[in-house]
């Protein structure tokens, strides 16, 4: 076995060097071919050294679908949120198994499903709408929310963050992940912590977040109402959930 391993190692080294030389020469095709050979040599080496086929990576059993987990997270938060926050919430409170990279195609899948049979599901994971009524980048919302909650004016990201922080603080938990999430959110809200190292007092976090919310509420509510009114008037069902196509917004802009 040792000889065979040595031989494989020599081959792997040779291939690695060749790959990198090809990369350097920007010869993508050759590099790809060599890399494939390299992978198979590495697999053979792995198999030989461990004496068996490498076991498939263990993943915890997935009882709840990704879709349902995101739904759970968003329901708890109650405001438009970025995938990473949804993942953190799911992780902290629902023992979630989400990974942010799995969420990238979610909105598109939901839109496809909606278009093929509108309102066929009790809820859709959908987009937040910008002031151009297009889908905001990297934000998730629920179709069951009122439009006002699903549009984002200039102050909305902050308002949504504070709303989410109140929701997280309101859901007490001693779970380490939950505490860490609360610490992370609290340190970005003025007056939410006493500067100490212990876990923040949820009541204090809520009070501080509410205090800052009061500063932004009036203007944000006004902005959102205006956006929601425009969305209701201008968009069809699908666009109201998933955002207007960018091209149509462009022509509208030009027409102005």
């Amino acid at each position: 076995m040792g000889d065979r391993l040595d031989e494989l190692e020599r081959r792997i080294d040779g291939l690695r060097a060749a790959v990198r030389r090809a990369m350097r020469a920007r010869d993508g095709a050759t590099a790809r071919g060599l890399r494939a050979e390299l992978r198979s040599a590495e697999r053979a080496w792995d198999a030989l050294v461990s004496g068996e086929q490498p076991p498939a990576k263990q993943e915890p059993p997935r009882m709840v679908t990704v879709r349902e987990q995101v739904h759970q997270g968003l329901r708890l938060l109650g405001a438009a949120a970025q995938p990473r926050l949804v993942v953190a919430v799911s992780d902290a409170f629902f023992g979630g198994t989400l990974r942010s990279d799995r969420l990238t195609s979610l909105r598109r899948d939901e839109e496809r499903s909606f278009r093929s049979s509108p309102f066929g599901r009790p809820y859709y994971l959908c987009a937040a709408l910008t002031d151009r009524l297009s889908a905001a980048r990297g934000l998730l919302t629920l179709s069951t929310w009122p439009l006002e909650r699903r549009v984002v004016g200039p102050l909305s990201p902050r308002v949504d963050f504070l709303t989410c922080a109140i929701a997280v603080a309101g859901r007490r938990s001693d779970d380490e992940r939950a505490v860490r999430l609360l610490i992370r959110m609290a340190r970005n809200i003025p007056g939410a912590t006493d500067g100490g190292l212990g876990p923040p007092d949820p009541e204090r976090v809520i009070a501080a977040a509410r205090a800052e919310l009061r500063v932004h509420a009036e203007r944000d509510t006004r902005d959102r109402a205006e956006l929601a009114r425009r969305a209701a008037a201008q968009l069809d069902d699908a666009a109201r959930l998933f955002g207007a196509a960018t091209l149509s917004t462009i022509t509208k802009e030009k027409a102005k």
Partner: protein
């Protein structure tokens, strides 16, 4: 090919230099690097013409010795995402703590929400509105797209964030993933970030000026955001980039007056790589190398970390036996003796000092005598 073109149209002349090779857009890092070795005519010409120096170096057989590790790239992206997460919650905290941003100032605009082709126009519109309306304007502009004219070309630049409402001025926010440990960061990394941020300051000032506003609404203090100690927690520091701005302005001015450098060059000189159908260069290497040698480089060992062409120029310096190879200290020590042979000749006494070289020749002869005495 007439003298007429030479006098009248440097832009056209630069196009000839580039030939059929597609221009390489400048990013802030590349523009900042221009200021690193301002005395190098070869670099000024190649950058002015928008030539892909990296491709040229590869084709010449002298690929640049630097690359970025995927780990570093991932780390950089993850840190930027953290700083900007949840409506830039971390950034707002830092701006409030460090710069006293009022609590009410949280308005966030993600410029990237419009299509890529509209980003620049959208940035302009938002900045114009902010400069005009003052109080009611937004606070954070994420993913803005600025532009800067470089020797007749437009370079598009993407600062991390532009912040407004810090005392009514715009601030460039630069997010970097190198750590600040116990209040100290790698000085060369900070210097690099400052040079890059200065490019953004300049571009934003240019934009305001075009829009008829006071360019000095853009602060020369930039907000540098880095992870603190070994954790991911971001910390913000103000960095004054006035000096970098001055160097950059001077260098850009030089680039717009490349005429002088162009004047000395033959009309038909070109650095064209002649890319084939597949984009790979087809120009004979010797020919390209000869063309490059018609321009004067100012090689210094510092180039090894800043210029794609460094190995080519180092090789040239070796062939010429230039004492530049040994670094600035040696060059200064030799006080104007530029070649290795000349210096050694003076030391051995086989060469007579030229006028003005008497003192250094005497020192070199003495040094040679002492080395011989001690080593035999």
């Amino acid at each position: 090919m007439t003298g007429l073109m030479r006098e009248g149209d440097p832009v056209r002349r630069l196009e000839v230099l580039r030939g059929t090779t597609p221009p390489r857009p400048h990013d802030a890092r590349a523009i900042a690097a221009l200021a690193a070795n301002p005395g190098c005519a070869r670099r000024a010409l190649m950058d002015g013409a928008g030539i892909d120096k990296d491709a040229a170096a590869r084709h010449l057989g002298f690929p640049a010795p630097f690359g970025q590790s995927p780990f570093a790239i991932t780390r950089g992206n993850a840190f930027e995402a953290l700083v900007k997460a949840d409506g830039c919650a971390e950034l707002l905290r830092m701006l409030r703590e460090v710069l006293g941003l009022p609590i009410a100032e949280v308005a966030y605009h993600d410029v990237e929400n419009v299509g890529a082709h509209l980003r620049h126009a959208h940035t302009r519109a938002l900045i114009d509105r902010a400069a005009r309306d003052g109080q009611d304007a937004g606070t954070l502009y994420d993913h803005p797209l600025l532009s800067l004219g470089i020797a007749g070309h437009t370079a598009y630049l993407e600062p991390d964030v532009v912040a407004f409402q810090l005392g009514g001025r715009f601030h460039i926010v630069e997010i970097k993933s190198f750590a600040v440990i116990d209040g100290q960061a790698d000085p060369s990394a900070v210097a690099g970030a400052a040079r890059q941020a200065a490019v953004y300051v300049l571009a934003l000032r240019a934009m305001l000026e075009e829009l008829g506003h006071d360019p000095l609404m853009v602060s020369h203090d930039v907000v540098l955001v880095c992870p603190e100690n070994f954790a991911n927690r971001p910390v913000a520091t103000l960095v004054d980039v006035r000096r970098q701005l001055a160097v950059l302005r001077r260098q850009l001015a030089r680039m717009t007056t490349l005429d002088r450098l162009l004047d000395g060059l033959p009309d038909d000189l070109t650095f064209d790589l002649r890319p084939g159908e597949d984009g790979r260069p087809t120009r004979p290497v010797a020919e390209l190398s000869d063309a490059l040698r018609r321009t004067t480089a100012r090689y210094a060992p510092d180039c090894l970390s800043t210029c794609d062409l460094c190995f080519f120029c180092r090789d040239e310096a070796r062939q010429e036996g230039a004492s530049d190879l040994l670094g600035r200290q040696v060059r200064d020590e030799l006080g104007g003796v530029a070649s290795v042979d000349e210096a050694l000749g003076l030391a051995d006494g086989t060469r007579d000092p030229a006028e003005g070289q008497e003192e250094i020749a005497r020192l070199l002869r003495n040094a040679e005598r002492l080395r011989r005495e001690c080593l035999t």
